[in-house]
Amino acid sequence: MATAATPATPPLRGVQPLRAGQGNSFFWRKLHSLTGIVPIGAFLIEHIVSNFEALNGPLAYAQQVKFLNSLPLVRVLEWGLIFIPLAYHALYGVFIAIRGRSNVNVYPWAGNWMYLSQRVTGIIALLYIVQHLWRQRFTGVMLPEHPGAAFHKVQMELSNPWMLAIYVVAMIATTWHFSYGIWLFAAKWGITPGEKARKTFGYVCAVFGIALCLMGLASMYAFVGMDKYKNAPEDVMPETTMSAPAASATAPLPAVATVASSK
C-alpha cells in the first residue's frame, strides 16, 4: 500500500485545515442522511398513505389504525424505526443547521435558497412533530388501544382553525424537506453526480414531493371539509379494545383473544 507522510501544518488563523482521517463526523453525518430516507422517509410515506384512508370515512380510517397497531412487535417497530431515528435525525439536524452560515442575502441563487429551505423546513417539521406526538400520540384517547376513536380525535384537533393552519404549513414543510432530502441524498452519496442526472432527478423529486403533499392535504380535507364525515362518532369501534403491549408480553393469550373476539 502506497503511503506518504503528510507534511506538518503550521498554526493558522481563521478557518482550520481538514483534520485528515480524524474524528467520527463522517459516520454521524452519513447516519443522519440515511435515517432521513430509511426509516423516517419510509415512515412518512406510510403515514401519508395511511391517512389517505380517511377519505373512505371514519370506519376505514379506524381499521387502518387497528391494522398498524396489530403489526407484530408494533411498539418495538414504533420506537426502533420511528421515535429513536427521528429524534437522532432531528437533533443532529439542528446541530447541522446551527453550524451553517447561510448567505442568501449575498448570493441569492437557487441552490443556496434550497440549502436554507432545508434547514427552515426541518426546524418547522421538528416543532410540529413534537406537538403532534404530544397531542395525538401521548395524550388524550390512546389510539393504539382505541383505534375506533382515531377519526374523531383528529377531527377535533383540526376543528381549530389555528391548528388546521399549523397542519397545512407542517404538511408542506415536511414533504418539502423529504423530497429535497431525497434529492440531496442522491447528490451527496454520488448516485446522481452529473449535472444532467441531478436536474432530471430534481424533477422526479419535485413531482413526488408535490404528490405526497397533495395526498396529505386531501386527507386533512376528509376531516374538516367533507359533509358526510362531519361530527364523526367518538369511537366507531367501541367494542374494540386492543391490549397494551406490556400486558400482551406477560399474557399473550388473552390479548389475541381480545383482538379476535372484536372481529
Binding site: T9, F27, G100, R101, N112, P193
Partner: protein
C-alpha cells in the same frame, strides 16, 4: 459618459486593527478592470476628501484570471479583480460606487490581501500530487484514456482563488469544512493513472472531520467558480468514493 468612478474600499493596515472604509473618486476611463482601478489609486493615493493616504495593498499577478491571486469581494461578491470590469459594476446609471473588501472568511494581511494558506494546507492533507519523486528516470508515465483526460482537464483548471470556499455557507470557523477546491483536486489526482496510487490515502483524509460530509450542497461553489470547474460533480463523486472506502475499511482493516 460618467466623469469619475466612485470606489469605497474596506481597509486595515495590519491584521490586528479595526477595518475602516476609504472613499475614492477616480477619473473615468472606459474599459477598466478592478486591478487597473487599484493601480490608478496607487498612482495618486488621495481619497475623495483630498486626504493623502497609502496605496491599496492587494494580491495580483497575471491580470488575466489564471493565477488566482486577486480574489476579493467586489460589490459584496467574491470574484477575481482582473476579470471584474468597472463599466459593468457601476450600475445602469454608471454612477453607483463600487465597493471593494477583502474575502471575509480568510485572515486579512493588509487591506485587500488575505492569507489563503488554509487551501494549501488542505491540498497537502489530501496529498494532491503525483508521487513520482525519485533518483532515476522513471520513463514515460502510463497512458490515459481520452475520456479520463476529458474529465480531468476541467478539474486541472483550478487557480486556487478560494472563491468556492468564500461563498460556501458550510466553510466557516465552526465546521472548518475543507471546501470544494480541495475535494476537486483529490478527484483530479485520484483519476490520474500514477496519482491513483495514493487514492485510498486521499479518500480516508476526506472522511476526517471537516471532510466531504460537511458539504450542504448549496451549490454556491460551482456558481461562483471563475474557471467553471464541475465542483458539485466532484463532491458527489468523492462523496461516493469516500463512503465506499469507509465501508471497505470496516471489513478489511
Amino acid at each position: 459618459m460618467p466623469s469619475t468612478i466612485k470606489v469605497e474600499i474596506k481597509r486595515q493596515s495590519n491584521p490586528g486593527t479595526t477595518p475602516t472604509t476609504e472613499k475614492f473618486e477616480i477619473p473615468y476611463r472606459p474599459g477598466m478592470n478592478i486591478t487597473s482601478l487599484l493601480g490608478e489609486i496607487a498612482l495618486n493615493p488621495v481619497d475623495v476628501a483630498g486626504k493623502q493616504t497609502t496605496p491599496i495593498t492587494y494580491d495580483s499577478n497575471c491580470l488575466e484570471e489564471i493565477c488566482g491571486s486577486c480574489a476579493m469581494l467586489i460589490n459584496g461578491k467574491a470574484r477575481m479583480a482582473c476579470s471584474a470590469l468597472v463599466d459593468k459594476l457601476m450600475g445602469s446609471d454608471m454612477a453607483q460606487p463600487i465597493t471593494l473588501a477583502p474575502l471575509s472568511k480568510f485572515p486579512v494581511v493588509r487591506d485587500l490581501a488575505v492569507d489563503r494558506s488554509v487551501l494549501f494546507e488542505n491540498l497537502k492533507k489530501v496529498k494532491a500530487w503525483v508521487p513520482i519523486d525519485g533518483t532515476y528516470d522513471l520513463g514515460s508515465g502510463p497512458k490515459q484514456f481520452p475520456q479520463v483526460q476529458e474529465q480531468r482537464y476541467p478539474l486541472s483548471n483550478c487557480i486556487s482563488c478560494c472563491c468556492c470556499m468564500e461563498v460556501c455557507p458550510q466553510f466557516n470557523d465552526v465546521t472548518n469544512f475543507v471546501g470544494a477546491a480541495t475535494i476537486a483536486q483529490a478527484k483530479l489526482f485520484n483519476m490520474d493513472p500514477s496519482g491513483a496510487v495514493l487514492k485510498e490515502d486521499r479518500l480516508r483524509a476526506l472522511s476526517g472531520d471537516g471532510g466531504v460530509q460537511e458539504c450542504g450542497f448549496a451549490q454556491n461553489c460551482v456558481a461562483a467558480c471563475p474557471k467553471e470547474l464541475p465542483l458539485t460533480e466532484a463532491i458527489s463523486d468523492m462523496g461516493r468514493d469516500v463512503f465506499v472506502q469507509k465501508v471497505k475499511d470496516i471489513f478489511t482493516r
